[in-house]
Symmetry: C2
Subunit: 337 residues, 2 copies
DNA sequence: TTGTATGCGTTATCAT
DNA sequence: ATGATAACGCATACAA
């Protein structure tokens, strides 16, 4: 029932092609004609059919966003909405739309091939990729332009990320400089690149500072609050005087464990997190943490992807965004001054 | 470069139409032929082009999800990801895809007409609608099947929601039954239906219990933590002994204000929230709150919408899901028995 | 500068 | 049960 180019053409007394030219900002249209056609288009609120356009051009002006929900933590961190907002903003500006796929592990393989081969999207942003994610292989085989959010060892060229290792190093060094001696870490899942990288940053800082790496002060969480709590609880008997936690959400859990053990933050245990989620400034005590420019990450990833799509060339793009250590009370900066 | 029906046809020695029939599970295909064709399809990982199919059928098997980001609170509540997951799950099951539109107020009008008229989607789920949202008018004018998440006075028939008023009433009644006399409320923004409904539930409970409605015990937040904090701080001088807060996030802010005033929860002030976001069980003290089945809401909304699309009839659907009052320490249930 | 004709990859209608 | 062919709505090469 919606109008077609043909209708607009008839209504404005020109041919279908001319209307098409007007819509696509073709220069070869007389100003007069253009105005006439635009008037009709406006008054009827005409919108060209994207499926037809897609068929004719081979492009859809849609990018896919793939998020593996097996990593369930995305639902407790605000990381995910901010990311989407960044992507969405970039797409609005460039006149693209966003197709969202939340892949549960069960249907993942099937969905991936649909995503890559049914022509719905011109490119994909893939977030929260696992180290052994089956999508890796498919992505390499396909011709689909893509950008990863977070780096991946096997898909080297095409990603956007912060330097997790560097940021973790800085965070840990901050604790070192405050004079802490028994600096622990709660690392994230080691099947995610961020988990691995942040852990390595911690190790590097300790090593460089000639501080011993004590296995009993290294525990692993799963990026959940409860995981952070459990990890910290296990670790408290080894008397850490500081802890670098690989995510703010886990840091909350860790702080809860410290409180329940009747220890003080930061006097007994200094805590540094990672992410700077909105609530971290409001935590008790406010959490020292690494700020990632999350919505900017989504934005840039989408921008780069769209450039990739529109340029047609298959260059590899790596984009590294800066982080910032946000110092707050939880690590005692205000006390040890 | 991807394969087409024609390619598959040639490869398996049948006609294009037969391949199409196989793909669409048409009964009029000999078993033998079907197997033969399927083998080719599988071995080449053929995926039919959705744009072409969309053109031919007039349907895309895509539903749109529209979320107004003017309501910025969605980025601090996990409400939003859970919703999307529910929608996404329903779509996976029914073989639909999800197109996501985060509309910022600036581009909203323009986007809406694109959403409704360019044929990208078969229907839309609209979340977080404001009472005066311009999308209301467009939705009414268009023929697009839609489902609202949250009710709206002018779009009566087509929504899915919980009974916010009833739930708020129950929550407040809980405080009444605990013997609290000066029960305050921090309501949400009154330009959102949930804000209004939850406020009315509070009023109803007070009135029915012959408790006076005291204006000084009614403040308004904006669904943010800081908003809850400010509201509570303003209100503390009027000595509430309990507060019903229209969202958990605001409740956290309120509890922070109570703590900072050196008052005890629940002894001095009992707190009840709304949402039961994952962290509420871990708050100090754990927060009594109203649980909404959020991901179920997304799921059901998408299901109903898809039914609407596929049946072709324009019936109105209202779906009300149940809530549950989750009693935890913050309202003193465990103390007063 | 504009119009005509063709093709994009499906589905659907009609034959056979 | 299968094949030929005409839409679907647009972009685009070519003609004028």
């Amino acid at each position: 029932m919606p109008l077609t180019l043909e209708d607009i053409a008839r209504l404005s007394g020109v041919s279908r092609s001319t209307v098409s030219r007007v819509i696509n900002d073709d220069v070869n249209v007389k100003d007069n004609t253009r105005r006439k056609v635009l008037a009709v288009i406006d008054s009827y609120h005409f919108q060209p059919n994207m499926a037809a356009r897609g068929l004719a051009t081979g492009r859809t002006n849609v990018i896919g966003v793939v998020i593996a929900t097996g990593v369930s933590v995305i639902f407790t961190d605000p990381y995910f909405p901010f990311l989407l907002q960044g992507i969405s903003t970039a797409c609005n500006v460039r006149n693209y739309s966003v197709m969202l796929w939340l892949t549960d592990p069960e249907h993942e393989k099937n969905m991936i091939s649909r995503i890559l081969y049914n022509g719905l999207v011109d490119g994909v942003v893939v977030a929260n990729i696992l180290i052994n994610d089956p999508i890796i292989k498919s992505l390499k085989e396909s011709k689909m332009p893509f950008m990863l959010l977070g780096s991946h060892p096997e898909l080297e060229g095409n990603y956007l990320d912060v330097d997790n290792q560097l940021a973790a190093w800085k965070a840990t060094m901050h604790l070192v400089r405050l004079g802490r001696k028994r600096i622990a870490t709660i690392c994230g899942s080691q099947d995610q690149v961020v988990g691995v990288d942040r852990y390595h940053g911690y190790l590097k800082a300790l090593t460089e500072s000639d501080l011993p790496v004590r296995p009993e002060l290294i525990t692993q969480g799963d990026f959940t609050e409860q995981g952070g709590f459990n990890a910290m609880q296990r670790m408290l008997k080894y008397k850490p005087d500081a802890v670098f936690v690989a995510s703010d959400t886990m840091a909350y859990g860790a702080m809860r464990a410290v409180r329940e053990a009747k220890l003080r933050i930061p006097e007994d245990v200094a805590v540094v997190g990672f992410d700077d989620i909105p609530t971290s400034a409001k935590a008790t005590p406010p959490l020292t943490t690494v700020r990632q420019p999350i919505s900017q990450m989504g934005n840039r990833a989408a921008e780069v992807l769209i450039d990739l799509i529109e340029s047609g060339v298959r260059t590899t793009n790596k984009v590294i965004l800066d982080t910032e250590l946000v110092v707050r009370e939880s690590c005692g900066a205000f006390n040890t001054g």
